[in-house]
């Protein structure tokens, strides 16, 4: 190692690794004290994570990790630079501050640099649960047994799953009075069960900050049932189908809309929300009038961080209301330039649901395809949010209001915007456990027509 000194210095963070509000405030104050720059801003995170992994009906790798991240940005007017370390000793903090000052002085001017935020007011979110924080590896192993025992007993099922729990803290502060702190726990279970003959595969999952809210047995049973039902799928022709997307599949596609919601890109003419000839689609009806898409840290299903990476407070933000694009998101710089208010960058996303169950959606369908989840979504055309990807782990034909057979997986080429225009029905919104991007996501099942399946996949 090239910093042997580091190895001899013991920093004064608590042994557990998790930083309290006071710990965080004191450490940020140290950076403020060491700073000689116009502005010093710090983001400090800490985490303790435990995971249990199993596959082929047995434990594979599992572990426990404690880490922190201390990121300090120094600014001299329009010049700034960031230095990040995971060493919280006084010496290391002083070195990080000095190094960020050195780099900032050498950096060219950033004409978009914004003055630091002063003190802000946040509505706290209670997302920290002792039930999750106190977990042991044995608790996780016991939860894994809800899948392993029935899979082994069945003889022709193979279970592969992942249980991960964590405690996390995030703090932001600067030398102009800003201080924000949030802590949360998270518990996540994902399970894939495959049939021994390799022709069937089922998936189910659950996620919540509170370990006690996870019904491991129910998840395990659902994945096993899907695996059995999906055995020996038949091929049907690709094409445009009425499709019932379970919440997980909806999440993977609808979450993408958030990635394109930046006002600046639309103003610059490189966004699906720009208008030919100039201007944006804010105020236009862009999808079916039953669609409302929002972010809200306080929502009991979301429980997300109540501030963004700049320290701007986050409350309820509605992006699409009754099908109309209500707002795009303004960074502090772009808001200032355009004479708008900075919105803060949402940290969660929810598509508002109804009381209908997935079964209700199936019952109302004369002929369609039921999709459990999607896989490997990649942008094909940023102009329309056109994505490609595949169905996975439980794709079924629905006929006369009933699931009649397992069918082969499809590749699709479609856009969440097209899909939400072709809406037939919306189901109940649930918290999701495994979208490709992750995060605090709540989505309902939906039924849409003319969903575009472009080819078949032999993959199970």
């Amino acid at each position: 190692m090239s910093s042997p000194k580091r190895l001899l210095v013991r920093d004064d963070a608590p042994e557990s690794g998790l930083l309290s509000r006071d710990d965080s405030m004191q450490l940020i104050e140290k950076a403020n004290k060491f700073s000689k720059a116009d502005t010093v801003e710090t983001q400090l995170t800490s985490s303790h994570t435990g995971n249990t992994r199993f596959a082929a009906n047995q434990a594979s790798t599992s572990g426990s990790v404690t880490n922190v991240q201390f990121a300090v940005q120094s600014s001299y007017g329009p010049k700034h630079a960031v230095v990040v370390t995971n060493d919280l000793s006084d010496e290391s903090i002083q070195r990080a501050v000095a190094q960020s000052e050195l780099l900032a002085k050498l950096a060219p001017d950033d004409p978009e640099a914004m003055p630091p935020l002063g003190p802000q007011t946040y509505v706290p979110v209670s997302a920290y649960f002792e039930s999750t924080a106190k977990l042991t590896p044995a608790d996780r192993a016991k939860a894994a047994a809800t899948a392993l025992n029935p899979a082994r007993a069945a003889g022709d099922l193979q279970a592969a799953g992942f249980i991960v729990t964590s405690e996390n803290t995030t703090a932001l502060g600067n030398n102009k009075g800003l201080f924000a702190y949030h802590r949360n726990t998270s518990a996540n279970y994902q399970l894939t069960v495959r049939t021994g003959d390799g022709t069937g595969s089922g998936w189910a999952a659950a996620d919540h900050p509170d370990w006690n809210q996870l019904d491991f047995k129910a998840v395990s049973e659902r994945a096993i049932e899907k695996a059995k039902l999906s055995r020996t799928p038949v091929a049907i022709e690709p094409g445009r189908y009425t499709v019932i997307l379970e919440p997980q599949a909806v999440g993977d596609l609808v979450q993408l809309v958030g990635n394109y919601s930046d006002a600046r890109s639309a103003d610059e003419g490189r966004s699906p929300f720009m208008k030919t000839g100039g201007g944006t689609k804010v105020g236009d009806k862009i999808v079916d009038e039953r669609v409302t898409l929002l972010a809200d840290p306080q929502d009991t299903q979301l429980l997300s961080q109540p501030f963004d990476g700049d320290g701007l407070p986050l409350t309820r933000q509605v992006m699409i209301e009754n099908g109309v694009l209500k707002q795009l998101f303004y960074s502090r710089f772009w808001a200032k330039k355009q004479g708008k208010t900075a919105t803060g960058q949402p940290q969660s996303i929810k598509l508002v649901g109804t009381e209908s169950s997935v079964d209700d959606l199936i019952k109302s369908t004369p002929r369609g395809v039921l999709v459990t989840r999607l896989w490997y979504l990649r942008e094909v055309d940023p102009r329309t949010i056109l994505y490609t990807g595949l169905t996975r782990d439980g794709t079924f034909l629905v006929e006369d209001g009933k699931v009649t057979k397992a069918i082969r997986n499809f590749r699709f080429n479609d856009s969440p915007l097209f899909m939400l225009n072709n809406l037939d029905m919306i189901g109940r919104a649930v918290r999701l456990a495994g979208t490709e991007q992750g995060g605090d996501i709540v989505m309902p099942a939906i039924k849409v027509h003319d969903f575009n399946f472009t080819s078949l996949s032999e993959a199970v």
Partner: protein, 546 residues
């Protein structure tokens, strides 16, 4: 270690852009041809310092006294440096540093792992004890006990990757200046309005010791120059991107200079501009001539991933997926992956490649091995745990049962597991170039650079875009096309390959962001490729109106 850094908002955008781009690729003309690249002489790596050695020993002792039958301890330091710009201005400068210790143990045939950032003997011993506790807790879910194939003990070895100029020795002014000059060149092209560019450097120090007596100390540097150029139609009816301009490499600042971003940016800007006027492709079947800057990613997805042995046996079923190249007993020596002239090598030895290392993360010195030999499946990527699963095959082939040295952890805080080595399409015997293959093609499409990519969880059905697409007519490159993507079924695709380039046309492409595992880990990997032709591939048009 690169994710979840919200504070660095600009770098977060950067990370998103990187994730979306997945990897940047070579274009012809950059100095990345493997064949013409003379290995630089690296300074020797420093031996291990006594403090680190003490920590490694403390971890091993604590693990053994806790009941571990095998243990390995890794002390790692990873530094990253980013400089990001847009158009005429800097966006951010970021320097990161992460150091810590990870302990992996085998207790009663079950794995356990724990990691700490506190670099003291008591903290490392506590991590070792925690790893033992994790293994013991998991004993109840164990199936067959885990066993490791033997590997020679490596005594106190050092290794350093091929770099001549450490990127940390170059000033931030020089880095920013290079990017801003390149941006200015690209912006000379008509309708080019936006540029995103960046330099991304990684430096890792990896110290390893195992309870079997192996000890290694390695230093490696990786460099990735990035550019994305956006042309916007004057009436806002369209926009087009040209990105993924040069590949990341396991080299230093000298590589960035060889890429000549300033000299090439004008051409890339023109290409972005030209894409606005390109002809939409007509759907149908075409002969495709794929440049190495494109083909590396198709190799990665459709050969690299399905020949990971853990994936083939269901160990990644819950996330990355399984493989169509399974079960091994029905595939090895039998599966005709492609034509007879198709040879695919796995290695961690190509100079400047991203996965190249002296020793893997369980102390194995990797070997070069043929995954596909004369078109037939010949081997899988393995670790010490996995190699034993194929001993029947190695015996039959009169080969040694050994790990190919594919164990890798993203950092000190991740458990090591099987990750992709460099997986490359070896050159054909006939010395022919991309241009020669185009000249031999009557009607088709040539694709340069990697774009959109998606493949199913068993690696059968894939869809790939690209950066620039060119009509081939009568052996000549014609006009530019747009909205091109091809869909393929892996074995059909590779068996349709009928021409490949020779040694001089071999180039490395690669990615910093090969993802696998739960919790997710990234792996940096290169893929060497020659240009190749594929017959009658299904091409779709991806253009649509909002």
């Amino acid at each position: 270690m690169t994710d979840r850094r919200d504070f660095l908002k600009k770098s977060a955008q950067m990370a998103a852009a990187l994730a979306a781009a997945n990897a940047l690729t070579a274009t012809e003309g950059t100095a990345t041809a493997f064949a013409s690249y003379a290995p630089p002489k690296s300074p020797p790596a420093a031996g291990m310092d006594p403090v680190t050695k003490d920590l490694l020993m403390e971890g091993l002792n604590a693990a053994k006294s806790g009941g571990a039958t095998y243990a390995d301890v890794r002390v790692g330091r990873q530094r990253q440096n980013f400089v990001f710009t847009r158009e005429h201005q800097i966006q951010n400068v970021v320097d990161t540093d992460s150091i810590g210790c990870g302990v992996r143990v085998l207790v009663d045939g079950t794995w356990g792992f724990a990691a700490t950032r506190i670099m003291t003997k008591p903290a490392v011993a506590a991590a070792a004890k925690e790893a033992v506790a994790v293994a013991k807790a998991n004993r109840m879910t164990r199936g067959n006990p885990i066993e490791l194939v033997p590997t020679p003990v490596i005594h106190d070895a050092t290794w350093q990757s091929a770099f001549t100029t450490d990127p940390w020795s170059v000033s931030v002014e020089d880095k920013a200046d290079l990017l801003l000059k390149a941006n200015a060149e690209a912006m000379k092209a008509a309708n080019v309005k936006y540029i995103f560019s960046g330099l991304f450097f990684v430096k890792e120090e990896r110290a390893f010791a195992s309870s079997e007596g192996s000890m290694t100390n390695q230093v490696l540097v990786r460099s990735w120059p990035l550019m994305q150029i956006t042309a916007v139609a004057p009436d806002f009816s369209d926009f087009q991107n040209r990105g993924n301009v040069v590949p990341p490499m396991g080299r230093g600042w000298e590589y960035v200079q060889e890429c000549d971003l300033v000299g090439n940016a004008g051409k890339w800007g023109e290409e972005a501009s030209q894409k606005l006027k390109a002809k939409p492709v007509e759907v149908g079947r075409y002969d495709l001539v794929l440049h190495p800057s494109h083909l590396w990613l198709t190799i990665h997805e459709s050969i690299g991933h399905p020949t990971e042995l853990d994936r083939a046996l269901g160990y990644e079923a819950n996330y990355a997926g399984t493989s169509f190249v399974a079960p091994p007993e029905k595939m090895l020596g039998k599966l005709k992956y492609g034509p007879e002239f198709m040879n695919i090598q796995g290695d961690r030895s190509q100079v400047g490649a991203l996965s190249t290392m002296g020793y893997d993360d369980e102390g194995v010195k990797p070997d070069d091995f043929l995954i596909i030999k004369d078109g037939i499946l010949n081997d899988y990527q393995t670790t010490r745990e996995q190699a034993a699963w194929l001993s029947w095959w190695y015996k039959q082939e009169k080969r040694e049962t050994r790990s190919h040295g594919c164990s890798y952890a993203q950092g000190w805080d991740n458990v090591q597991f099987q990750r992709m080595p460099n997986v490359s399409l070896l050159p054909g015997e006939k010395e022919q170039s991309f241009e020669d293959i185009v000249a031999a093609t009557d009607k088709g499409i040539a694709i340069i650079g990697d774009g959109s990519f998606s493949i199913d969880q068993q690696r059968y059905n894939a869809q790939f875009g690209g950066q620039t697409f060119w009509e081939i007519k009568g052996g000549k490159l014609g006009g530019m096309l747009k909205d091109v993507a091809y869909q393929m079924r892996t074995p059909d695709f590779w068996n349709s390959m009928d021409m490949i380039g020779g040694k001089k046309s071999y180039q490395l492409g690669g990615s910093f962001f090969d993802g696998k595992g739960q919790p997710g880990q990234i792996n940096a990997v290169s893929h060497g490729a020659v240009p190749a032709r594929f017959r009658q591939i299904n091409v779709i048009n991806t253009g649509r109106k909002a």
